[in-house]
Subunit: 162 residues, 3 copies
C-alpha cells in the first residue's frame, strides 16, 4: 500500500535552533511523500511560528554535542557555555555549518511546510499564557487546543511528541 | 467513528515544573473525551508520582523560554540561571503566571488524572534505581516494567514519549 | 492477538548517558517480545553508534534528578554542575549506581540490540553535518534519511521520538 493515504501528527514543544529542525524536516519530508501532516505548536515550540524569531542553540547540558572543527570533533565544556555570548557564538557556528553543508535554514523549512499545506495549529492555552496573538505569528496557523490535537492524533498513522 | 473507543499511552520521563504539564494535560483531556489512557512514569518523570513533590522549572539551556513581563517578552540569559536561587525564582514566577492565567496546577492535574481513571504505571526499574517504594507515591499507581508498556502500546492508537 | 506480529520504530535523538537508556531498553525489550524494531539514530543520538563513545550524564538544567545518597535523595544545584568536572563526577556516580543495581551498561544494551536483530539506521544528513563516516560506527547500522524513517513508521504499530 502506498504511503500517500497515510497521515502524521507532530506535537512541537521546543523552539531552539537545533530542536526546531526535527519537526520541520519530518513534516516537510512526509508532506513531500504525500502524507497528510499536522503540526501542533505548544509550549516553547510556539516560538517557531513567530514572525520574528531568532532561535539560538543551547550548548548547556548538551554533553553529546560535538562540532567538527579542523577535522576533530570538539565538545563544549559546560563552563564555557555559561559565559554570556557563548550560546550566541555556538549558534553562529552551527548556522554557518548548516549553510556550508547545504542544509536548509529553519525559515526555509517553515516556508516549505506552509507551501506543502502542512496543517499548522497554534496552542491556544500557550498563546494565552505567554500573551501572544495570531498577529505575532506568520500567516497560516489556526488556533486549537489539546482536544483538537487528540482528535487529529486518533486518526493519524504516525504520532510524535518532539 | 467516535474517539471514545480509542486509547492512548504516554511514557512520562521528565519531572520538572514545565515538562510535567504536557503529559497531564494530554492525559486528562483524552480521558475527558472518553479515551482509555495509560501513563507510564519512568526516569525523572517518576518524581511526578511522589506524595511530596516540588517541581522546579529549569531555565538553563532553555533559549526559547520568554516570559511576558510588563508587555515585553524577556528571555533569561544562561548566566543568570547559573546563580543559585534563580531557578527557584523563575519557578515562582511561572507558578504565579499559571495561577493568574487560570491554568490548573500540576497537583490538580494529577488529581484529575486519578479521578478520571487514567491508568498510572510506575516503572519498577527506576523505583529500584532511585530507591523509591510505593509508600513514597500517591495512591493509585501500579508497578510495571518495559514489557508492560510495550504490550499496552501495541494496543493503543496514540503512543507518545514525553 | 499476540504482540509478535507487531512492530516499533524509535527516533533516537539524544546521546547522553541517561537519555541513551530509554531507546535501548525499549528496543531490546520489544525485540525480546518478538516485535520487529527499527531505531533511527539522528542528531545527538548518532553518537550512540560511535565505536568509541563515552557518554556523560548532564546535571545542568535537570532539576528533577535526585540521586540516592546514604538513604536521602540529594539534588544537584545548577551552580555545582557548572564547575568543570562535576558532570564527569556525576557520570561516574550514575555508572556506579547502575552497576550496583545490576542494570546493564549502554554498551551491553547496544550489543543486545545488534544481537536481537534490531534494525539500526544512521541518519545520512547528520553523518554529513558532523562529518562522520560508517567507519566511525560499530558494525550493523545502515544509512538512511527522513524518507526511510517515514516509510518505516507508516507500517509500525508503535512510533516514538526520544
Amino acid at each position: 500500500m502506498s504511503v500517500e493515504s497515510k497521515s502524521m501528527s507532530i506535537i512541537v514543544t521546543k523552539g531552539s535552533l537545533d530542536w526546531g529542525y526535527p519537526p520541520f524536516i519530518l513534516a516537510t519530508t512526509a508532506a513531500a511523500m504525500g502524507l497528510n501532516v499536522t503540526m501542533f505548536f505548544t509550549f516553547y515550540g510556539l516560538s517557531l511560528l513567530l514572525k520574528e524569531f531568532n532561535p539560538q542553540i543551547s550548548t548547556l547540558g548538551n554533553t553529546a554535542m560535538k562540532l567538527p572543527m579542523g577535522g576533530m570533533h570538539m565538545s563544549m565544556p559546560n563552563m564555557l557555555s555559561a559565559i554570556p555570548g557563548v550560546d550566541a557564538a555556538a549558534s553562529v557556528m552551527m548556522k554557518n555549518l548548516i549553510k556550508k553543508k547545504g542544509v536548509a535554514s529553519l525559515e526555509e523549512l517553515r516556508e516549505a511546510a506552509v507551501d506543502s499545506e502542512v496543517r499548522l495549529i497554534a496552542c491556544q492555552m500557550t498563546m494565552d499564557l505567554f500573551e501572544y496573538g495570531l498577529e505575532d505569528m506568520i500567516e497560516g496557523p489556526e488556533l486549537g487546543g489539546a482536544a483538537t490535537y487528540i482528535e487529529c492524533a486518533t486518526q493519524s498513522d504516525i504520532n510524535l511528541f518532539i
